[in-house]
């Protein structure tokens, strides 16, 4: 009980690193420390596959959370590598002062800490506190450039995000109220394992009401339409590493919370099925975001809308439920995190060499910056669901499993996917080909993170390791 476990490590490493990074003045050193700390967190979280610490009142890890936490730690690590080269450029052009940089690195680790805490908390109250901390951290990160746009984005994100977590807290309280007559007063009424084990006896009406609040609350953080308004601004105006972390990780953490509560409702046969609500919000998000993609003029904003679309697909898949759709949802979530962060890595460097995020200012990338340009093309191909990338596999699974059970639901989904595909391919043509726009200075980019991510996505599309398949199938069955 008192021995030090990997669970403590994934919390302590980022927390300590945040403290250390707040003190280090030089950005080269702090970027290196940031990378090292993220790597250590990754190793610690990977060890959770092998050694599973015992459940506590506050912390616990099961097969579902391991998937999320390893993915989170992995993208957190690669983003820290990307961040090192990105930040160097921002310091050179004077967009970030040393003080803000120190703040940035410390906040990066605080964010990692908060997300890890949310993922391994075995307690709905603690999970809420962790997600609140993650929101607060990202608000501060989005505002770091202090420009008009950044402040507006951060303000909007703060207001909508706070309302979201406030509603989620109300839902959390309702879950406790529903649990109290069965479980008894005190901490037991907030512990996952107890809640799920005894959910069958809870008052179904209260659980239903609680889920509506939780879905609205955490759904705001997932970025589901119509609660998405903060997401494009926050992605566009913050530093690009934060856009990558937001899209690749923070949305997943909120999704994880939704999934947990879905499992809770599924354990009570008299409660309403959460599926239809999730399916509806998912479909609306896919179709809305698909159309919004056509009108984007800002490259980061465009990929933020693409994130809304993909979160819609994932929520749709989990809403369908069943082993196959859940498997597809998990796979899609993994693939989306990897691909979207790879895209943001390349977009970050592209915006730096071109000195602009406007789509109109970026043309002919494959001519001036072949590596960046082709990486972006590959990333966009992957994210729009074209073979041979992994997203094709997962989207295919989502669609085919839907066709098998609810053919009518598959039609709007496929429609949304095609709309989004058209928009992305249209936009990437202008970005990557044609007469190059000014700004041909060579990029001092770190290509390793984006290549690594895209290689993984490609590998998953061509050959999916059976070990991971078995693991995902197992988790998909857990999700019910």
């Amino acid at each position: 009980m008192n021995s030090f476990t990997a669970l403590d490590a994934v919390l302590l490493i980022p927390a300590l690193a945040a403290g250390v990074l707040a003190l280090i003045p030089g950005y080269r050193v702090s970027a290196a420390v940031n990378v090292l700390a993220s790597l250590a967190t990754l190793l610690a979280s990977a060890s959770l596959f092998l050694v599973r610490p015992a459940d506590g009142l506050y912390l616990r890890v099961d097969d579902l959370s391991v998937v999320f936490i390893v993915l989170s730690a992995f993208v957190g690590f690669t983003t820290s590598v990307f961040s090192a080269s990105y930040i160097a450029h921002e310091v050179e052009i004077g967009r970030l002062t040393p003080t803000r940089l120190r703040f940035y690195h410390a906040m990066y680790q605080v964010l990692m800490f908060a997300m890890n805490l949310a993922l391994i908390s075995g307690n709905i109250g603690l999970m809420w506190v962790a997600i609140e901390l993650a929101t607060l951290t990202t608000v501060l990160m989005v505002a770091i450039y202090r420009s008009h746009e950044a402040l507006e984005a951060a303000w909007k994100y703060f207001i909508l995000g706070s309302v979201g977590i406030a509603l989620a807290l109300f839902g959390t309280i309702l879950v406790y109220v529903a649990a109290r007559p069965v479980v008894g007063e005190g901490m037991a009424g907030m512990v996952w394992t107890t809640l799920v084990a005894k959910a069958g006896a809870f008052d179904p009406a209260l659980l239903n009401l609680a889920f509506v609040f939780l879905m609205l609350g955490y759904g705001t953080k997932v970025g589901l339409v119509p609660l998405h308004a903060w997401l494009p601004d926050a992605h566009a105006e913050g530093p690009t590493p934060i856009s990558a972390v937001l899209s690749g990780l923070l949305l997943n953490v909120a999704l994880y919370a939704v999934l947990r509560f879905k499992m809770l409702l599924a354990a009570n046969p008299r409660a309403v099925a959460p599926g239809p609500l999730m399916i509806t919000m998912g479909l609306v998000s896919v179709i809305f975001a698909g159309f919004m993609l056509y009108r984007r003029r800002d490259i980061k904003r465009m990929f933020a809308y693409s994130s809304i679309e993909h979160m819609g697909i994932i929520v749709f898949a989990f809403g369908m439920g069943g082993p196959l759709a859940n498997f597809a949802g998990l796979l899609h979530m993994t693939m989306h995190s990897l691909t979207k962060s790879a895209i943001f890595f390349s977009v970050g460097h592209i915006a730096q060499v071109k000195g602009s995020q406007k789509i109109a200012d970026i043309r002919g990338l494959t001519v001036t910056h072949p590596v960046l340009g082709w990486t972006l093309v590959a990333g966009v191909f992957a994210i729009s669901g074209l073979p041979p990338f992994g997203i094709f596999t997962s989207e295919f699974l989502v669609v085919s499993s839907t066709f098998a059970r609810q053919p009518l639901l598959a039609l709007p989904l496929v429609f949304g996917l095609i709309v989004a595909l058209g928009a992305l391919l249209m936009k990437v043509q202008g970005l990557a080909f044609g007469e190059p726009s000014p700004g041909s200075a060579p990029a001092k980019a770190s290509y390793l993170p984006m290549f690594g991510h895209l290689a993984l996505v490609l590998a998953a599309g061509v050959f999916f390791p059976p070990l991971i398949t078995v693991w995902f199938q197992h988790v998909a069955r857990l999700l019910g």
Partner: protein, 220 residues
């Protein structure tokens, strides 16, 4: 639970809802801040009373936070801010008083209808508290929708949060209430006292949120 204990708890919780309705039609920021302070005092009394009748001493901490932080520090800071920004005489209301009040009354009725129906199994005080708490939350949301001014928006959010604290303390024996109220206070402190209002004033020359919309990245 004796009748008197219930009555006092009920009175205080109902008082929170009434003050929320009062806040809806305050069109001057100074008055709005004062009414918010009154709500925070009521909240702290309500929480302290819950701590007393539930024999839950940790709730006194939450009551103290409400009293010191929300009823004193925040209102004083907000008064300073609006004075410095020169908006303390400004009238701030997007929708008229009549429709807002009607909507507010409707929301209270809605939350009573919903909450009392789904909590039939719970104890009397718990369900009333939840129904009142939901009313305060919804009224807070309504206030956020009808205010244009950043200060009004923040006060709307804080009154929403008062409703959450009421719900959390009304749920008997709920753990982590203190931690949650601290987490919320940190959130509010960061925003109110700290960066945002000053920066927004500094950068945008106004705390009117509609002015922010001019800088939408989508428009050229």
């Amino acid at each position: 639970m004796s009748g008197l204990q219930f009555d006092i708890a009920h009175l205080l919780a109902g008082g929170l809802v009434l003050i929320s309705l009062l806040m809806l039609y305050q069109d001057r920021l100074t008055a709005l801040i004062n009414v918010f302070a009154a709500q925070a005092i009521t909240l702290s009394l309500s929480v302290a009373w819950q701590a007393f009748i539930q024999h839950a001493p940790h709730l006194y901490i939450t009551a103290a936070i409400a009293l010191v932080f929300k009823a004193m520090v925040i209102p004083i800071a907000l008064h300073q801010i609006i004075k410095r920004l020169g908006v303390h005489r400004e009238i701030d209301q997007v929708v008229g008083v009549g429709p807002t009040m009607l909507a507010g009354v409707g929301l209270v009725a809605l939350s009573l209808a919903v909450m009392l129906r789904v909590t039939e199994a719970s104890d009397r005080l718990g369900r009333e508290d939840l129904a009142f708490a939901l009313s305060v939350v919804l009224l807070g949301l309504l206030m956020m929708v009808t205010r244009r001014n950043a200060v009004g928006l923040v006060i709307g959010f804080m009154s929403l949060e008062n409703g959450l604290v009421l719900a959390a303390t009304g749920a008997k024996g709920m753990p982590l209430v203190v931690e949650i109220s601290v987490a919320f206070s940190v959130l509010i402190a960061f925003i109110v006292i700290g960066i945002f209002l000053f920066r927004i004033r500094e950068r945008f020359e106004t705390v009117d949120v509609t002015a922010l919309d001019r800088f939408r990245g989508e428009r050229q």
